[in-house]
């Protein structure tokens, strides 16, 4: 059988190297499009052959690598990883199309970095061995660092270094957690292994409760910094804002933090010495992020920075839902990742277009753009509505699942989150009012609407937001299967 | 048979002279010479202990060390020659551009 997962991971990485060799923009973008479309086709094939009724890993590939240390080449996807791979595979071709006519320096490097990020991100989702997982995890950092520091905004150096060091420190803490898990499990079972499913199943045999808590806390720290949620979010607004549009989209495609929580932390959580504490930590950072991000976004003047803070707010739903311990809330949190990826990519594209055509993103300097950019206005209103959680769009499914599911066990946190909903609506609508509606600001000069490629790419993602909002089952069913699996673990442990 | 203590004592004296020279002199050549002194005091120890223990390994080490010292001297002098050509001095105090 075709090693389909390896292909999906390797095609972008190989094409990234090939793209570096191209000379012109035309060659580079064509190369990137070919690679991303190939990934999309393979992913669709995988998706249609995916059995969403079982929680096991599928399309597994496993080869021995370094047997003495227990390192294997082990790939596979389950219902947590599949939607995220799908998300990357869907959005990336349209991201390439979105940048189709842009002028920028060294396009070959630009497209190579996009492909490298895609390959690394999918690698994280597909890896079932901590060795591979960590390699891909760190590999996502590098292209994004260059993306921000080469094509970024005026404050790019500060932002890129802050992003790199901050998240790298978190990765190192996570690595400590991985080491702890590896050695403690080695000690407990007598065999060295970095295999993720194996380690997850052996965690309960570790003797020391303190050790187990430390391992989970270290892993959790690495993941929530990457998400990011309050109070470890401060790299994010800078990085998202300073990155070029494609970079910002890649950032939101990189759902590895939440993925780690669902895939690694939640299965370990019931076996720790103090699961109640962990659940409260997750729920508290979630609920505070939701309301904190909303207020911070309300205070922003820069459109893109506002979007960045809204992302903090949305990510709060991920940890709150994960802490909810009801299959509905956990799958809602997973769906929030998927939904957030779609919504934010269009929002960042919109803000990128506004910045390039109007020359500013300061909302008070804009105004009345809908008169000159009707197509963008339609798409932007739709995605802003999705972002504020309007029913019929993906954001609502995620939010209502998280809120309803979490209320069963965590009513106080949900009430905090509910308070933020009006604020969320307020900053979205106010942003629309200041940018799109009202009197056109004549000082902006000639404003042209989005071109065909941009309309196509943003429009199709917007349609997907609507489609998955009306019919979430294609991705939600597999999430539900997996979250029920996690919850059944909890039930066994009586958490 | 001369007792081992005398060899060690001599080596200590030579080493100390070399160390004193290295720490007080400013001229590159003198410092290089002081380093040679310290090296040779070590060589002396090696040879002395070798003969004391009736084990030739120490003497082989001493030979290596002498060869190394020769190389070091050659490279050192070459560097000092270059420095002298450029700056007309070999006072190493004026060559602190590697600080901080």
């Amino acid at each position: 059988m075709l090693p389909i997962l390896s292909l999906i991971v390797l095609i972008p990485l190989i094409f990234a190297a090939l793209t570096l060799l191209t000379k012109t923009k035309q060659q580079a973008r064509a190369m990137a499009l070919v690679a991303t479309v190939a990934v999309l086709v393979l992913t669709m094939y995988m998706y249609f052959n995916f059995d969403s009724t079982i929680a096991e890993n599928q399309f597994v590939e496993m080869y021995q690598w370094v047997p003495s240390l227990g390192i294997t080449y082990h790939l596979g996807v389950d219902g947590i990883a599949m939607p995220l791979i799908l998300l990357n595979a869907i959005v990336l071709p349209f991201l390439i199309l979105f940048t189709w006519n842009d002028e920028r320096k060294s396009p070959n490097r630009f497209y190579a970095l996009i492909l490298a990020t895609e390959g690394a991100a999918i690698g994280v989702f597909a890896a079932l061995d901590f060795f591979l997982f960590y390699i891909f995890w760190e590999l996502t950092l590098i292209p994004l660092f260059f993306m921000v520091s080469i094509w970024g905004g005026p404050n790019k150096h500060h932002a890129s270094i802050k992003f790199f060091i901050y998240t790298h420190v978190a990765s190192l803490v996570m690595l400590l957690g991985i080491f702890g898990l590896y050695f403690a499990a080695w000690e407990a079972t007598g065999t060295p292994s970095l295999d993720i499913p194996y380690l997850l199943s052996q965690f309960q045999f570790i003797e020391s409760g303190l050790m187990k808590d430390m391992i989970v806390l270290a892993l959790l720290f690495g993941f929530i910094v990457k998400l990011p949620v309050f109070p470890f979010h401060s790299w994010q607004p800078d990085a998202y804002t300073e990155a070029p549009t494609a970079g910002s989209v890649l950032f939101v495609m990189l759902k590895i933090g939440g993925y780690g929580i669902f895939k690694i932390v939640l299965p370990l959580l019931p076996f720790t010495a103090s699961p109640g504490l962990m659940i409260n930590i997750l729920a508290a950072v979630g609920a505070i992020s939701i309301i904190y991000g909303a207020f911070a976004a309300l205070a922003q003047k820069d459109l893109k920075r506002m979007i960045a803070y809204s992302s903090v707010s949305h990510m709060g739903y991920v940890t709150l839902g994960a802490a909810g311990m009801v299959s509905l809330s956990v799958s809602g949190a997973m769906f929030q990742q998927f939904s957030h990826g779609l919504i934010m990519s269009v929002m960042f594209m919109a803000s990128g277009v506004i910045n390039s055509t109007a020359g500013t993103r300061i909302m008070n300097d804009l105004g009345g753009l809908a008169q000159r950019m009707p197509k963008l206005a339609v798409i932007m209103v739709l995605t802003f509505m999705a972002s504020l959680g309007l029913p019929g769009l993906t954001g609502f499914i995620a939010e209502v699942s998280v809120l309803a599911g979490s209320f069963v066990n965590l009513p106080a946190y949900v009430i905090i989150a509910l308070l933020a909903i009006v604020i969320t609506a307020a900053y979205h609508l106010w942003a629309l009012q200041r940018t799109m509606f009202g009197v056109f600001n004549e000082k902006l000069g000639t404003i042209v609407d989005i071109n065909g490629y941009q309309t196509l790419s943003m429009g199709i993602i917007a349609i997907l937001i609507l489609y998955f909002g009306l019919n979430p089952s294609p991705v939600l069913d597999m999430m539900l299967t997996n979250s029920e699996n996690i919850i059944s673990l909890m039930a066994v442990m009586g958490v | 048979m001369i007792p081992i203590e005398l060899y060690v004592g001599l080596a200590v004296i030579i080493f100390t002279i070399g160390l004193y020279g290295f720490m007080t002199q400013r001229s590159g050549i003198r410092m290089l010479m002081s380093v040679e002194l310290m090296l040779n005091s070590a060589n002396l120890n090696l040879v002395a202990f070798s003969s004391y223990n009736a084990d030739l390994t120490g003497q082989v080490f001493a030979l290596y060390s002498i060869a190394l010292a020769a190389c070091e001297a050659a490279i050192g002098f070459a560097i000092l020659m270059t420095i002298f050509r450029m700056r007309d001095t070999i006072n190493l105090d004026s060559f602190n551009i590697l600080r901080w």
Binding site: F295, A299, L418, M436, F437, F440 | L19
Partner: protein, 670 residues
């Protein structure tokens, strides 16, 4: 095939019309108005046929459910309550659409207008048809967003964009309460099912919810030391949603501002597609309300208060549309009061309230469309500049007077002679009397009577100032086109005769809502659970009480005629900035200053948001501080690199010495 199988088409056709008009409208004449008109007309025919079918057999309601995701479903439920609402909404919406063809003919964005109104109608229809609370909430939100788009239809005008935002956000406060209610309801049901919901059970469906009312009522929560039943919390939160959508105090502030949209949009919002949603929600979940101690009393009091509160402001407004807006708020207060007095008369209250809702839809749509006709013709909506319009626009004037009579509630008690508004409002006021009699709480009754007087005053003030007397400015104008006047005439007929023709049967029909093959509730038993004592039926009140609404209506007409028709009192003395009462009313009790300027701008934005931004900078500062400290440490440590070889040599010697000492010490210790 039974007509009921087509029920799903009722919201679907307007939704399809939205898509078609949105993409193709620009290429068609009149912005593609024909598409939504045809779609809504078809929906109306289906609704009407279903209603007629149901009238034959009210026990057999139409239900269809399909699994959506997790334990949620999508489905339709057409029972008597839904059927009458569907028929009314499709009918009024159809007339407004036809009217809009003429009204919007000069607007460049006609196709966008018709697309959005079609979606608006579709959302409202889907809200009415929902068989579960989640779908109802989804449609509820869609209604909200459509109102946002339509109020901000002329988005180039900053005032319109602001009003749209305000409407959305104000109703959103209510929506959050509604959502909180749903969330609590979900978690309670989840616990009742012990976390395992069997396949095929949709826990958000109304029959499922109603079936568990006793368990919900048995759950208690401790809030600030008070034992409160969960069902009370849930219903109060639902009512909070209704307060937002249906413009009850204190979330009514968005409704008057919503006038920034086209007048036809106001008509849609006020009559058919939006504000009635709140009343409908309470009516739909009435079994929960009546089983919840205290909730219905809150509904009754707040409804009565809103009725009089809004009416006082209606008296001083000079803007034609604003008077009507406050009138809507006031009438919605009556509807809520109608539901609240269910505490005394049980399920009949739903019939009464919905009856008033339907009649209100007719006369309020008529009032707005007439106002639109006037505005369209003369180009202003300031009543002080109008006067004598009746001479140039006779049809408009005649129909508007009919609507005013209906709103004020003219009719003869005990007969079938009377305007539609008379029958329904009279019933509610009498219900309030019964409520007072059975519970000893007379405040709602008194408020509703005074509000009726004020209603009559403000609406005839509007009539006299606009249509009679001499023109105050030279406005020109002419009677509107037939596409506008025909809908007016149809609505006028309904505003006159609908109530009289249907009154009793309507009530009986809607009261069947809670006893059929879908849900079969024992309302008196539930009322006992809620601690309410149901009284006898309406219609046995003292004669004075029966005549009272008519007396105040006539009194209001006379007062308005004396002041604004004959001008026996010089209003200029009263209407001045020095009169504190006038000032208070004219400034709308300073709500704008309190809600917009103070709460949202000062507290939320400049207070919380700026505080959070400062805190956020604090976090950023900590991160940067760590990096600065690292750099500074490196800076000071590198001072050791002097570049002087002797220093390094000294350090090496010192280090070796230290090492020797250390080894010595360690050796000794060991």
């Amino acid at each position: 095939m039974a007509i009921g199988d087509l029920a799903f088409l009722i919201p679907l056709l307007p939704a399809l019309a939205f898509v078609l008009t949105f993409f193709l409208g620009k290429k068609l004449p009149n912005g593609g108005a024909i598409i939504p008109i045809a779609a809504i007309a078809t929906s109306f025919v289906i609704s009407l046929l279903i209603t007629l079918n149901l009238l034959q057999n009210p026990g057999e309601v139409i239900t269809q459910s399909y699994s959506w995701f997790a334990m949620f479903n999508l489905g339709i439920l057409v029972d008597p309550l839904a059927a009458v609402m569907l028929t009314m909404v499709t009918f009024v919406s159809l007339l407004i659409h036809i009217y809009s063809v003429g009204y919007m003919s000069h607007d460049r964005s006609q196709s966008r207008y018709f697309a959005e109104t079609a979606l608006f109608t579709a959302s409202m229809l889907s809200l009415i048809l929902s068989d579960n609370i989640l779908q109802l909430f989804i449609s509820w939100e869609l209604v909200g967003v459509c109102s946002y788009l339509l109020i901000g239809f002329w988005y180039q005008k900053p005032a319109a964009a602001t009003a749209a935002k305000k409407a959305f956000l104000t109703t959103r406060i209510g929506d959050v309460m509604f959502l909180a209610g749903i969330v609590i309801l979900f978690s309670d049901l989840f616990k009742i099912f012990n976390g395992t919901i069997p396949d095929g059970v949709f826990i958000m469906r109304f029959d499922e919810i109603f079936a568990h009312i006793p368990e919900l009522a048995a759950m208690n929560a401790n809030i600030l030391g008070m034992e409160v039943s969960h069902i009370t919390i849930i219903t109060l939160l639902f009512f909070g949603g209704a307060v937002g959508k249906s413009g009850q105090f204190p979330l009514h502030v968005w409704l008057p501002d919503a006038m920034e949209g086209p007048t036809t949009v106001s008509a849609l919002i006020h009559a058919a597609t939006m504000v009635t949603a709140g009343v409908y929600l309470v009516a739909r979940t009435f079994p929960m309300f009546i089983a919840a101690p205290d909730t219905l009393l809150v509904v009754a009091y707040l409804g009565a208060f809103t009725a009089i509160f809004a009416a006082t402001m209606g008296i001083v407004m000079n803007d034609l549309k604003r008077v009507l807006a406050y009138s809507t708020i006031s009438q919605l207060g009556y509807m809520m009061l109608g539901l609240g007095i269910g505490a005394a008369i049980g399920a009949e209250a739903v019939g009464m309230s919905i009856f008033h809702l339907i009649n209100h839809a007719f006369f309020k749509a008529l009032l707005f469309l007439c106002a639109g006709s006037v505005i369209h013709a003369v180009g202003t909506h300031d009543m002080r500049q109008l006067g004598g319009v009746a001479k140039v626009m006779p049809i408009t004037a005649a129909t508007m007077i009919i609507a005013a009579l209906s709103l004020a509630g003219f009719g003869i008690p005990g007969t079938i002679f009377g305007t539609s508004g008379f029958f329904s409002k009279d019933a509610i006021i009498e219900g309030a009397y019964l409520f007072g009699e059975s519970s000893g709480m007379w405040i709602p009754y008194v408020l509703s009577i005074v509000a009726a007087l004020l209603t009559s005053i403000y609406i005839f003030r509007l009539i006299f100032m606009t249509f009679f007397g001499k023109p105050r400015t030279d406005y020109g104008g002419h009677e509107s086109h037939a596409s506008m006047t025909i809908p007016l005439s149809i609505l006028a007929l309904l505003a006159l005769f609908f109530g009289g023709l249907t009154s009793r049967r309507f009530n009986d029909f809607v009261s069947e809502t809670f006893g059929n093959n879908f849900v079969n509730m024992n309302i008196p038993e539930l009322a006992e659970m809620g601690g309410y004592h149901l009284a006898a039926h309406v219609g046995h009140e003292p004669v004075l009480i029966l005549w009272m609404p008519l007396i105040v209506a006539v009194a209001g007409l006379l007062i308005a005629y004396l002041i604004y028709g004959l001008k026996v009192v010089n209003m200029d003395n009263l209407v001045s900035r020095n009169n504190p009462v006038y000032k208070l009313l004219y400034n709308r009790y300073y709500q704008n200053a309190i809600f917009t300027d103070f709460i949202s701008v000062k507290i939320i934005y400049e207070g919380f948001a700026f505080a959070v931004r400062s805190i956020d900078r604090g976090f950023d500062w900590v991160v940067n501080w760590i990096s600065d400290v690292t750099i500074e440490t490196g800076d000071s440590l590198r001072q050791f690199q002097t570049g002087v070889i002797q220093t390094y040599a000294t350090a090496v010697v010192a280090g070796v010495g230290l090492l020797i000492v250390l080894i010595k010490v360690i050796m000794e210790v060991i």
